[in-house]
């Protein structure tokens, strides 16, 4: 019995945890036993709002807002080290990916989600990134007021890039067999889905 009269904060409402379990690979988050090996393993841990371990704890605790706003999934570089090492066999990268996918679908206005979505769209078109098209797409998605803000903030960087010919005005050539790439992607996506169905 704790003697202090600190007010208890209501947490662990089950709705969000249950909701999270429905998103792709989200159910794996439940299996976290809070060992923290992922936290030590993660190369982006210093920049993350929450380490993967703490992030999973927030999911269990039903902290929807913190989870949805956290940069944790977005800073995941998909290096897979945590996934390889997780003692519970949780495909952490896939959980993060599933969440990103969800966020991207649900809130296209969200900065990071949008960035990711536009990046992917641009990339899959040619198999290469067209920086200017990517930037434009992102700005359009954000909508004028936000876009203006970001543009002002980033203009120095953009000008530097132009100076160093890092921001060409014309799109690059499609890679050979861009269609094949798409096929590979689709196949991989299907395989992943399949694999996770078996609970590996």
């Amino acid at each position: 019995m704790s003697a202090d009269k600190e007010q208890a904060t209501p947490r662990y409402a089950p709705d969000f945890h249950q909701e999270f379990r429905k998103i792709e690979n989200g159910e794996y988050a439940s299996q976290c036993m809070q060992c923290g090996l992922c936290a030590v393993t993660c190369p982006s841990r210093e920049m993350m709002d929450y380490t993967p371990r703490a992030f999973f704890k927030l999911i269990h605790a039903g902290e929807k807002e913190k989870v949805m706003k956290a940069n944790t999934p977005w800073l995941c570089t998909s290096c897979y080290l945590c996934t390889v090492r997780c003692p519970r066999g949780i495909p952490i990268v896939d959980v993060m990916h599933g969440l990103k996918h969800e966020l991207a679908q649900k809130s296209s206005k969200d900065g990071v989600a949008l960035l990711s979505k536009v990046f992917f769209k641009t990339f899959m078109k040619r198999g290469r990134l067209f920086e200017l098209g990517f930037t434009n797409g992102f700005m359009m998605g954000l909508g004028p007021p936000k876009a203006l803000k970001v543009t002002l903030k980033q203009q120095d960087c953009a000008l530097d890039m132009v100076k160093h010919k890092r921001l060409p005005f014309f799109p690059p050539k499609k890679i050979k067999g861009a269609g094949q790439l798409k096929k590979i992607y689709n196949k991989a996506a299907a395989l992943q889905k399949e694999a996770h169905k078996d609970g590996v």
């Binding site: 019995m1 704790s2 202090d4 600190e6 007010q7 208890a8 904060t9 209501p10 947490r11 662990y12 409402a13 089950p14 945890h17 249950q18 379990r21 159910e27 439940s30 299996q31 976290c32 036993m33 809070q34 704890k57 269990h60 605790a61 519970r88 609970g199």
Partner: protein
């Protein structure tokens, strides 16, 4: 028996180099008049053994084998029944640990011979003690999962069993469960409750007799001949007893701080089982399981109840099964899903159960629902988990042996006890035996098994978990130790093994653990008994009852042959055929104690044969050199130390006496439980006598050593020898 002697020296392994064997043979020949002495350079070889066997064929039946330790070459020097064999450890205790071809080493060797020859002279071949009307049946007290398993397993091995169960039906605590925790791979599926099938199997088995609604009114006799009175008038005779009375859940009424009694939705694990059986979890949405409710809490049960984590995992699965949308929470300190239960833990997590680590701070009402407030160790704040339909307290277990009054502790008796003057016996720590009304043993030392900490009649030994303080009575299941269902089933199976082994041992007239197979037993020369009751009080196994006059009534099948009674008896009326006060005393007297002017002090050592003697052997194997003044006599247990040995040794002129035995106290290592402790208590009584004789009490010392202390042997012995040297010679020398 008519002894026909043969003395067979081995001169190999350096024995012949270190010692003058002819001189040793002379001891046998001239001092003990045994002329049949032979030497062999490799006695354990086929040729050497054949020499001995040829003599046996010629009628030799008493062998003295001065060679190596009896712990070596045991198969070679095993000559079957009817032959007395005494191994004299010239190798480890003399040749390998002392200077080669040295006067002191030779004297040591000769004394080893004298001790052995004296011992053999006084040894008789034991004849097994056979009880009459021995029963091979097993009595199982308690018809829960452990008792039922023990009964079934005994029956499967071909033994008849009687089960006495207090409740109206078999099944006990587990019988009231919906399902049980898994006991086999893959460990994540909950099997159906095994009790109904087991009940039927027992009821259908012609070798099993079940008494329900019955208790044991009394048990008298001993292993092989337990006479059991069962309430309702039935009698039974049993060869061994299995105590499987289980445990009861910790009293939830004491858990008011967790809301029990205040909120009807705060329930116990038992209540939750019933809800699951009744299918009432269908509409239950949220359940919180509070682990360590009472356990791991110094206010209630300091120990961990070992089963509750797994039980709560199992119950979380019930909720999932009956209401897939339900949410379970487990509030825990450490999630103790040991071993393969890790799989169950993971499965329950996969079900969506949320685990919250921390100390529960409060349970509050929440408009018909409950809120658990917990200091969440991981989130680092106090959180409230709300809208719980039920809070289930994992309320741990208390062994059924922990309830009851202390015998002889009515108020008047307690007062009388305080008023009584402190006597010698008061130094001996009393065993804890509560009148828990389970076995009702007609034993002088109390009606139940002595218990250890927290009321569990557990074995103290890591390596011998079944060894209780009452021979032939084995505690199994949660009465012995907190454990989960799977462990209780295993425990009960093993208990049945021990019961069967006890029965077969008694039938063969042999001692049980740890002197398994020993056919000797204590004999009491009753005409000299003074009814002092020391033997009946000090026997660690409660083997000796008393008549009204205080005469000892030994129940020999209860006896473990440690000789504690022999050590306790001031009249020296207790002896074994091959081990007695007189024998050991005479061995000490046979040692030659040189005169004072020879400046060769002598130190007599009584050493525990299980730990100290092997330690001496290992010192020998490592060729560690130690003082040649010491003479070692192995004893079955230091508990058999009779003070007359020390008195005799001092008057004989020994300069010091040392007892080498096992550690005692809370973590005692004596495998006869109290032996070394009793020896040290007895020793403290000697000091006074020594002072009266004008002898320094430092001349007599107890030293606790364990089997692996062999590297310390030289320093222990040399330090003592130095101390003795400083004290100077025993003034009694030469008188």
């Amino acid at each position: 028996m008519d002894k026909k002697w043969g003395v067979y020296f081995c001169t190999g392994c350096g024995i012949g180099d270190a010692l003058d064997i002819d001189a040793l043979a002379k001891v046998a020949k001239s001092e003990f008049k045994q002329q049949n002495c032979k030497n062999h350079p490799f006695l354990c070889s086929k040729e050497g053994i054949d020499t001995i066997k040829a003599d046996i064929a010629d009628g030799v039946n008493t062998l003295v084998i001065p060679a190596c330790s009896s712990r070596a070459k045991y198969e070679e020097f095993r000559f079957g029944p009817g032959i007395i064999v005494e191994r004299v450890n010239l190798r480890e205790q003399a040749a390998w640990t002392h200077e080669v071809d040295d006067e002191d080493t030779q004297m040591l060797g000769e004394d080893l011979m004298r001790m052995a020859m004296t011992k053999v002279k006084l040894t008789e071949l034991p004849e097994p003690w056979q009880v009459e009307n021995l029963s091979k049946d097993v009595l199982v007290v308690g018809g829960g999962i452990a008792g039922m398993t023990a009964a079934m397993e005994s029956a499967k091995a071909g033994y008849k069993v009687t089960i006495v169960e207090k409740g109206p039906a078999l099944g006990g605590y587990v019988g009231k469960m919906y399902k049980v925790a898994p006991t086999k791979a893959p460990y994540d599926v909950l099997p159906d409750n095994p009790v109904p099938a087991l009940t039927k199997a027992l009821e259908d088995n012609p070798n099993v007799t079940v008494y329900t609604g019955a208790t044991v009114e009394s048990i008298s006799g001993g292993p092989g001949t337990f006479d059991v009175k069962i309430s309702g008038g039935a009698d039974a005779r049993a060869g061994a007893v299995i105590l499987a009375t289980g445990s009861v859940p910790f009293e939830a009424a004491k858990l008011g701080h967790l809301g029990y009694g205040k909120f009807p939705q705060v329930i116990t694990q038992t209540d939750f089982e019933q809800l699951a059986i009744d299918g009432k979890l269908k509409n239950v949405e949220r359940v919180g399981f509070i682990q360590c409710a009472g356990s791991r809490d110094s206010h209630f049960l300091s120990y961990c109840s070992a089963a509750c984590c797994v039980e709560s995992l199992k119950q979380a699965r019930y909720l999932k099964e009956q209401n897939p949308a339900g949410q379970a929470y487990v509030f825990y300190k450490d999630l103790r899903a040991v071993g393969k239960y890790e799989y169950l833990y993971k499965q329950v997590q996969a079900d969506g159960t949320v685990f919250i680590k921390g100390e529960v701070a409060n349970i509050a009402g929440d408009g018909g629902k409950l809120t658990v407030e917990i200091d969440d160790a991981i989130l680092g704040e106090k959180v409230a988990v709300q809208s719980l339909d039920y809070v289930v307290l994992a309320n741990g277990m208390v062994p059924s042996t922990a309830f009851g009054t202390e015998p002889g502790q009515t108020e008047a008796e307690a007062e009388a006890a305080t008023a009584k003057e402190k006597t010698e016996e008061d130094d001996i720590p009393k065993d804890v035996i509560l009148k828990s009304d389970l076995l009702n043993l007609n034993y002088r030392q109390g009606p139940e098994l002595p218990t250890l900490k927290y009321g569990f009649p557990d074995s103290h030994f890591v390596c011998f978990p079944y060894e209780s303080r009452r021979t032939g009575i084995y505690a199994v299941g949660t009465v012995r130790n907190p454990m989960h269902v799977g462990a209780a089933i295993e425990d009960a199976t093993g208990g049945a093994m021990k019961a069967i082994q006890c029965i077969e041992g008694c039938a063969a007239g042999k001692a049980l653990h740890p002197r398994s197979g020993d056919e000797s037993y204590p004999e009491f020369a009753m005409q000299r008994c003074t009814q002092c009751k020391r033997c009946t009080e000090e026997c660690p196994f409660g083997a000796i009852n008393e008549d009204e006059k205080g005469n000892p009534l030994p129940e020999l099948t209860r006896c473990r042959r440690c000789g504690t009674c022999m050590g306790a008896c001031p009249e020296r009326i207790i002896s074994f055929k091959n081990y007695s006060v007189g024998m050991i005393g005479n061995m000490a007297k046979a040692i030659e104690v040189p005169d004072e002017d020879e400046e060769k002090p002598r130190i007599l050592i009584f050493a525990c044969e299980n730990d100290a003697i092997p330690a001496l052997d290992m010192a020998g194997l490592g060729r560690l050199q130690y003082n040649a003044w010491v003479r070692v006599i192995p004893v079955r247990c230091l508990g058999s130390l009779n003070l007359v040995w020390i008195a005799d040794a001092m008057s004989k002129g020994f300069d010091g006496v040392m007892l080498l035995g096992c550690k005692h106290g809370d973590d005692y290592q004596c495998h006869f439980m109290k032996g070394s402790e009793l020896a040290e208590i007895r020793l403290s009584k000697v000091s006074e006598t020594l002072d009266r004789l004008g002898l320094e009490s430092e001349r007599v010392r107890f030293k606790a050593i364990n089997i692996m202390d062999y590297t310390l042997i030289p320093s222990i012995l040399d330090d003592f020898a130095q101390k003795i040297d400083e004290l100077g010679p025993n003034p009694m020398k030469g008188f």
